[in-house]
Structure formats: structure tokens, C-alpha cells
Amino acid sequence: MLTVKLFAKARDLVGSPTVQLAWSDGQVVAHLKQVLGEQYPALVPLIPRLFVAVNNDYAADSTAISQADEVACFPPVSGG
């Protein structure tokens, strides 16, 4: 299983601050977005703008994720 933290509008749309997904180590960020969209249809409109962070850094669609990684998904930031 992979634990994914969700923030801001992504969390509100899913209705939970974390989700758990079936996961095989080595699957990539693009796959994570696809799975999230399938399991949480409310998230679909946000997915084109969703950022995925792996171990506290922004990750590209091709980045591989393992179950031990800290993974978070969130929309464009708006601090300041």
C-alpha cells in the first residue's frame, strides 16, 4: 500500500487528508495520478493541475515511487 497525503482543494474533494492505494514499488507519478482519478472521480477536474511531491520535493510524471516514500498531492500553491 502507498499512503498519499492530500492538501487544500485536493483534500476537500476527496474528503480525507490521506488515502491508501494498492501499489507496486517502481510505478511512477503518472500512474499515481491515473489511479487517483479512477478511485476518486471528484479529483478528476483537478488532476491536470495536481502536483505530486515525493520525499518533500516536486516529482516529474516519470518519477518512480516506492511504498516507503513520503508522497503528497496538491494543487498549485498560493501562500505568501
Binding site: R49, N56, P75, P76, G79
Partner: protein
């Protein structure tokens, strides 16, 4: 000195922490909760952060700024939680030998904070509605 806080920001302490006789210039930027945005009226903002990554990204910003300018000291505090009109949401302080450097570095730090540090604000409009602010519509990774 980098921190996230749920308390009001003490920008004087932050400013004092960057002052030194090696620097002739200190620039402090404060972001404050503004009432009007595009004709709509804000009554409050709620800030949420991803603390571990936000602190990592703030430290990364500080390191990048120190490579680009002869910075003496940097201090950044971002507030999280519920903020009322006029409250300070973020304070960035930087000291440098000369003023041009301090202005450039201060502007870089707040500009990059706003595109790179995982913090989000939710508008509380005066009609009672709330709305997450997710600027742009860019699908690219901020770098």
C-alpha cells in the same frame, strides 16, 4: 531563521535577527491580508501548509539566494491558520552589504516562496462563501 507558525508574526524579532554590522542594508517584506481582490471583498483567509516540505523548500530558497547575492542573514516566517483583515501572513527579512542586493534578494525570496512553497490559502468572501486560491492553471512543475 525559517519557521511556520500559528501565532501572530513578530516581524521586529525577525528583523533584529538579520541585522549585523556586516550589513548596510536590511529589507523586510510583509504580506498582509488585503480586503479587496478584483472587486470582491475578503473577510478572512485560512492558510494551510505541508509543513515538512514547506520548511525544506524555504531552506532551499535561502540557499539559492545566498548563492546569488552576498547575503549576510535571512529570516522567513509564514503564518498558518485563520487570519483576519490586515493580519501579516508572511515576513521575509534579508540583510546584505548594499541595498540593491537586499532589495533583489528580498524580492526573489517572496516571489519564489509564492510559486514553490507548499502553502495554500482559502478565501472567506463577504457573501459567506469560501474558495481555495490556486493561481494560474499551469501544469508545469515549479522550479
Amino acid at each position: 531563521m525559517i519557521s511556520l507558525t500559528h501565532e501572530p508574526i513578530n516581524y521586529q524579532a525577525l528583523t533584529e535577527s538579520v541585522r549585523s554590522p556586516n550589513s548596510g542594508a536590511v529589507v523586510l517584506f510583509l504580506g498582509t491580508v488585503r480586503e479587496l481582490t478584483g472587486g470582491r471583498r475578503t473577510v478572512a483567509l485560512d492558510y494551510e501548509g505541508y509543513p515538512a516540505m514547506a520548511e525544506a523548500k524555504l531552506a532551499e530558497l535561502e540557499a539559492e539566494a545566498c548563492l546569488r547575492w552576498p547575503i549576510d542573514r535571512v529570516g522567513i516566517i509564514h503564518r498558518l491558520g485563520h487570519l483576519e483583515l490586515g493580519d501579516i501572513s508572511v515576513a521575509v527579512a534579508v540583510s546584505c552589504p548594499h541595498r540593491e542586493q537586499a532589495f533583489e534578494a528580498g524580492k526573489f525570496l517572496i516571489d519564489e516562496l509564492k510559486v514553490r512553497v507548499p502553502i495554500w490559502k482559502k478565501e472567506n468572501w463577504d457573501d459567506g462563501s469560501t474558495e481555495w486560491v490556486h493561481p494560474g492553471g499551469e501544469m508545469s512543475k515549479p522550479e
